[in-house]
Subunit: 156 residues, 2 copies
């Protein structure tokens, strides 16, 4: 079975907060860099972006902080696509490290394909990129879920 | 009517991404710093944390990216509390800047009061902090909503 795309990163010292663990925001930065890698994987790399003025904008992000990450950890982010339409990608991510038997975090991004003209405007994916998005969505469906599905944040 | 607590920040050059706007992750960093300020406001400052080994951990974060932020912008984050129990705070945030007539982003954090003993463990707020949490929750209820309520991320 082909693997889902992954992004690896060490934990930088300035990412550790006063609680002695990875600051919540830097989970987000790691996810953001993993999304840059995912764009490359799907053909929306720097050459595509400069040639077409098309890119992805983030619409929504939902992170589940499941376990503390320490400076000695190295994180692997596994990316998948759990939904898509002609101009949007619903991406899911799982963050793991060898020290932990279960994910340190899971997350979902809703991403919009945008043409940066005089005003930025949502735009349909070209066919070749749409095919790559659909292929990764199909592959993602054959893998275990990348985390609990996003839900309303609330006290029950 | 008393105001809700706010946190202000300029936009640093290295926070701008290849799209020419504030990278999604740095909305999260700004929200994280605003949450540090909120902890001070509620009495969970550095002296409290070092004296009690109690702090707040982030359980969940949901961000709505509504408008692009540019390097020339200065953001104001307004914080409120929309839910709480004996050891959790459901905080809501709105990010605004003078250039924009509507929020650049809204967000919600679910935060857990944790005692960092041999193993970190959820712990009830002391009475004086619980009173501050409840007072800010009551004040928040008298203000306009800080943003769309968190929801499941999905393509409809």
């Amino acid at each position: 079975m082909p693997s889902l795309p992954t992004y690896k990163t060490p934990i930088h010292a300035h990412w550790i907060d006063f609680n002695g663990h990875l600051r919540d925001a830097y989970y987000g930065l790691i996810l953001s860099y993993a999304t840059d890698d995912l764009m490359d994987f799907l053909g929306m790399d720097a050459a595509y972006r400069s040639g077409t003025k098309n890119t992805l904008y983030s619409l929504e992000l939902h992170i589940y902080y499941l376990r503390e990450v320490k400076q000695s950890d190295e994180l692997t982010v596994t990316a998948g696509i759990i939904g898509s339409d002609k101009k949007r990608i619903h991406a899911a991510f799982s963050m793991t490290c060898p020290r932990l038997s279960a994910p340190a975090a899971t997350a979902e991004f809703m991403l919009l394909h945008v043409h940066q003209g005089i005003e930025p405007k949502g735009a349909a994916f070209p066919d070749d990129i749409r095919a790559k998005v659909e292929a990764l969505k199909a592959l993602s469906a054959t893998h275990p879920a990348l985390g609990a599905a996003s839900r309303k944040i609330e006290l029950r």
